[in-house]
Symmetry: C2
Subunit: 324 residues, 2 copies
């Protein structure tokens, strides 16, 4: 076995961290490593935690780590930060908050930000999860902000999705709820001691009762979590949340839905891999040859259009391959 | 000239709306139409408005329509809703808010949501903007929620980017500011009568003074806008915002930056078009042939991995093309 792979499978933190860094930096050999690692993955239970900025996702993740450790499970946490293509790693504060687990060898926390213009954050997240799976973590928590399509792609790497809402976040929360409704397995009403919590709970229950989703055997439960500054209630509530997640895990296994979700996850991964096998090398060659530059100039001056340009590029690409 | 193209260039609302609907539905002939339309685009000034949910973007857009109409400019508005891949068009409420412009033939408002699993919302937004350009709108406002990479891709279709912030949105607003910092040309502090507005302004000024961006000749101004329920102040503030946007437009033209941005926009459009020329047909054939299904099953059982699968698919795809 490749020594990197061996070390990661033994749980070596430094080797795992380096590979995650390589994935984030889109180093070409990272994919080769993931390929070799793949046979050692697929055994962890993956929990996605999503919600608006300010919903308290990191505090909840931190509390869940504590709960799962009490149950003697090892935990990996991946905090995905979609806002930092420009700043690079603004989520640092969250990692600091989780420092109290730093001494615990059963906990492995890493963050991931986008770098470079080609996107692929969802693929990077999927691969970073694979590293943690190979390390043998029982539970992996993926935390992200739940808005755009890309964030939904990231959360689709999870087997169980927890959507965190807070009372009084303004009327556009409606939009958020609508968008996240279909992917939620469990809802958390966080900071439930605040004004408006009761109303949010009622609204959510009504929406859930109208949803066709409830017909398939699992009705997403709503867990209310009080303020973290009231430790007794907070820890009671987060223990209940951990319990609810475990129940969902059991449901997924017994109903055959876990297999179904793993299948869907595999489909997403093929699509992501195709993009890096086909699109990325093509774009790379267009950029380095200066052809993208030339075509953009033509389009800017309306001497061509993007579709004609794309057809020309595709044609040339095939001719070149044929020539090989 | 194609009759659809002719009608759109004459400003026909029904034809334009139908094409935007076709773009949204990813109908294959929509791209062909955009190809023909392309020569008639590139003359409008495109403003992007972005910010967190609840920041008041729609109210501001509505006020800007009024201001630009006073200056006798025709306006197109595209509200892009990235949260609705599941619910389909949750942004409806915003369109209702803009109804007061419905009688004005100089204003054209449409919303856009993602449909289908293949993504491409940024490309759809770019094409919907082209339709409005061909209609001859002087100004096009693109409104979106400013979080993930996809939303940043959407906002990159704009020549001038307005980032809307509100005081007291919790500490993760820091993250947001960091992510949007580099794309902002103008900042709005909305609901500036609220507690914390002064602090937000100070923080923002400090960040702007530290930013290397200010070196290139344009230092993003900060416009404070009061509550919409105080009509006199609100309208004074939004008039100032419209004025600031006009100044930025002038700066872009005089400094040559407008050409630069149009060039960058063309590059994005080529990338988007390549994805629909190459990736989408490939994925489509994989899905309809059942091959994606079969490969996913193998990967789920760890009998293969996504990269090996992607390589096999790519190889087969080339062989098939060679055989043609």
């Amino acid at each position: 076995m490749d020594s990197t792979i061996k070390k990661i499978c033994e749980g070596d933190v430094r080797t795992a961290s380096r590979l995650i860094r390589d994935i984030e930096d889109k180093r070409p050999d990272a994919n080769t490593k993931i390929k070799k690692l793949y046979a050692h993955t697929g055994k962890s239970f993956i929990i996605g935690i999503t919600g608006a900025p300010g919903a308290g996702k990191s505090t909840l993740t931190d509390a869940l780590i504590t709960e799962f450790r009490k149950l003697n499970k090892t935990v990996g946490v991946l905090a995905v930060d979609p806002t930092s293509p420009f700043s690079g790693g603004a989520i640092l504060g969250d990692r600091i908050r989780m420092q109290r687990h730093a001494e615990d060898s059963g906990v492995f926390v890493r963050s991931l930000a986008t770098r470079g213009a080609l996107g692929g954050l969802s693929q990077a997240a999927g691969n970073a999860i694979h590293v943690m799976e190979a390390m043998g973590k029982d539970i992996i928590i993926v935390e992200t902000v739940g808005i755009g399509q890309q964030e939904i792609d990231i959360i689709n790497h999870a087997h169980s999705v927890v959507v965190v809402l807070v009372p009084g976040m303004g009327d556009e929360i409606q939009t958020m709820k609508a968008g996240l409704m279909e992917i939620a397995d469990i809802f958390v009403i966080n900071k439930a001691n605040r004004a408006g919590a009761g109303q949010l709970q009622t609204e959510l229950s009504t929406m859930l009762n109208l949803s066709p989703q409830t017909a398939d055997g699992w009705k997403p439960p709503i867990v209310a979590v009080g303020d973290a500054f009231e430790p007794a209630t907070f820890s009671e509530n987060t223990a209940e949340l951990a319990q609810t997640i475990e129940e969902h895990h059991l449901y997924l296994k017994q109903s055959g839905k876990l297999t179904e979700r793993m299948h869907r996850k595999a489909m997403t991964e093929i699509k992501d891999a195709l993009s890096s096998c086909l699109m990325e090398p093509l774009l790379h060659s267009l950029i380095t040859s200066g052809e993208l530059e030339k075509l953009s100039e033509k389009i800017k001056n309306r001497k061509s259009d993007p579709y004609t340009a794309a057809e020309e590029i595709t044609e040339k690409f095939f001719q070149k391959r044929r020539g090989k």
